[in-house]
Symmetry: C2
Amino acid sequence: MVDWIADYIDGPGERPVFPKVNPGDIRAQLPEHPPAIPESFADVMADMERIIVPGLTQWQHPDFFAWYPSNITYPSILGELMSSGLGINAMAWVTSPAATELETLMLDWMQELLGLPDRFHSTSDTGGGVIQGTASESTLTAMLAARWRATDGAINASGDTTKLVGYTTSESHSSIEKGFRIAGIGTDNMRVVPHDEHFAMRPDAFATMIESDLAAGLVPFFVVAAHGTTSSMAFDPTPAIAEIAHAHGMWVHVDAAMSGIAALTPEHRWVNAGLDVADSYTTNPHKWMGINFDCNLFWTADRAALISALSILPPYLASEAAQSGAAIDYRDWGIPLGRRFRALKLWFSLRTDGVAPVQEMIRSHVDLTQQLAARVTADDRFDIVAPHPLNLLCIARRSDSIEQANADTDALTEAANAAGIGLFTRTVLDGRSVMRISIGARATTSTHVAAMWERLTEIV
Amino acid sequence: MVDWIADYIDGPGERPVFPKVNPGDIRAQLPEHPPAIPESFADVMADMERIIVPGLTQWQHPDFFAWYPSNITYPSILGELMSSGLGINAMAWVTSPAATELETLMLDWMQELLGLPDRFHSTSDTGGGVIQGTASESTLTAMLAARWRATDGAINASGDTTKLVGYTTSESHSSIEKGFRIAGIGTDNMRVVPHDEHFAMRPDAFATMIESDLAAGLVPFFVVAAHGTTSSMAFDPTPAIAEIAHAHGMWVHVDAAMSGIAALTPEHRWVNAGLDVADSYTTNPHKWMGINFDCNLFWTADRAALISALSILPPYLASEAAQSGAAIDYRDWGIPLGRRFRALKLWFSLRTDGVAPVQEMIRSHVDLTQQLAARVTADDRFDIVAPHPLNLLCIARRSDSIEQANADTDALTEAANAAGIGLFTRTVLDGRSVMRISIGARATTSTHVAAMWERLTEIV
């Protein structure tokens, strides 16, 4: 099976990037009931080949330009395999000391490699980091810590969220609104701060909204600054946002789920500008760094608020090591209790591959994006509708009317997907339909991008 | 590495079950900074052998009697490996059709194998299931669906939780209180219903508390019935609880995280009694079924409430397949957006091993527990302090005073752990210190249990 996986990874372009299936097609090929007697592993692998793999969206395909990348590398796969084989639970130090300590060390290594502020380091007075599953969970976790701090801890007992209001833009990720819902704050209390023409938050509008909420007797407690929004990879101005937010005691969370990893290359370290004034930060090695999903990193400069918000200590989870303060119990740093040994993936990768191959890949993807941008610019049938400093290009068809342009753009995205030119996702930026071209698969080369653009322009 | 893992699994008893380490010992053996140049994989494996594995709590060890089991089997490890190698994301049907459809099928297979009500089947009018990471997440998810239904959906926008009250016992899992906190309801609004002498919820007390809350103008919305509490594996009487709860429109969630899997054996199917009147249910194949962590199953009879509570549809996540209702987007069935292809672990196991080995293991663990109970009963230095129908035995020292008994019991647990007789966890039942003996590792045989008891009685 290891060989099978190696072949799969080495030949990602052999299958259509999106399967030609309709809902129900896969299930219809599988038995409705579990087998009465055991089958051979060969039979299972045959069904993998014949039914499952052809029914998957091929995230490793060189023509995968959808959503965001989900890169994998051999060391990280082996790290996950090792984690599965050990079968331990990393919920607390005492449930597996080495898993906890290696996790802390990996966060510290990544703090160094990404050039993050020292106040996120585990040896800092008040900060530290944790591996979570997804940025959705990290954002919710940040919100819960912020909520605890804004209420002086009263929230844990009272659940009183009635006066809390938070802030973000329409361009930030849907997980933020989902977090406001889950935390019992509600969409009505999530202020959507206007953005500028580059889809970044307007600090002046943010300040005005806060004043208005304060005048209404509300408590502004939390703002999410996106470093790389989902739709267009826009960067909110965290230094200006934090200055305003901190004047009112608010928590500043920076969501760099996709783009933050670019800071592994010194020339792109600007993606994390302003983190020295952020209360928390998240980025995903499972997107653009080759660490297989899931591996989300979350740091905070206020671990006391985080732990106070989430720690519950029944007798069956108590341990001397944690109560003395000498050990970390990561169960108190996120939503789930049980936790996988995810640090191994990072450790295996950082030791055997190092960051040089990731830097090379990031640089290549950024170059490919800029080369494609030059081609799009030279074609008067298209507009580039957002800044594209990294690896995402947002394009739209030109037309006399916005309605026609939108119809043309959506038709092109659909036609490109149907023809198998690649897999693309659609978004909307200020009412304008957009075709997102995310260049982030490890297998994608200039040949693939050139061929994709040539075929796209043929079907316009 | 596959061979290494096979050796590790075949020789789980060769290391101490708990490492002789203090906080910081592991990290002190590892470099503080990432390597400047790549190292060989052999070097990493050498450090695994020398530093990491000796620093782990050995959950697969035959003398592991702590917390709960975390069994692994070869097919499930291979399923996880395959998932890592494919590198796809199962957040929505369109992001990997086969992953979604196989997941749905696995929930249906498990519904059949566990003998769960048909209303949890994916083809039922209103129900269905999903794989989540942990029971913590499933319980929170159930709470959010309940909250949505109790407020006719108003909660999503308003975040108004002020009148909501939920119910459980002091014996249910800490994740329930954590869920009440996260959801912005608060510990003050979590009613702790008194339990009977067997640590099960008292329906009469539950009814009285509801009346009192209604009289105060509050809205009872949610009750968690534990089928197998964490401390003592007590079973709350779900049919009686549900009759009361449903008279007031409440949501009944059944948490059978540890014990529910026992229903794979027909003679233990009683563990799920009352599910025909539950609104949601969760159990963990990653505890007692050999599916490596994480693999939590969650079913609901009201998928509309669940999806309505959690669905947010930005344009970049929209798809025709899901909007038509023909496909499931599992991102709307839980907290995280991104999701691993966890169905493979179940599929590989159910096809190549089937449930017979699991049934055999469960029967063996239950037998070993009953045999041990007979020995404890015959020893007048000990009490068995809770019913033990399955694989958990709660014992305590006898003494004239409760203080002395508690001191003796705690001393014994500490001494047993320090001597490496096994790994045991402590809990407290109605003020009484308890030594929990959880018999659930695949490697544990009658020889191990007999030796453990002999050594324990020697050090009393």
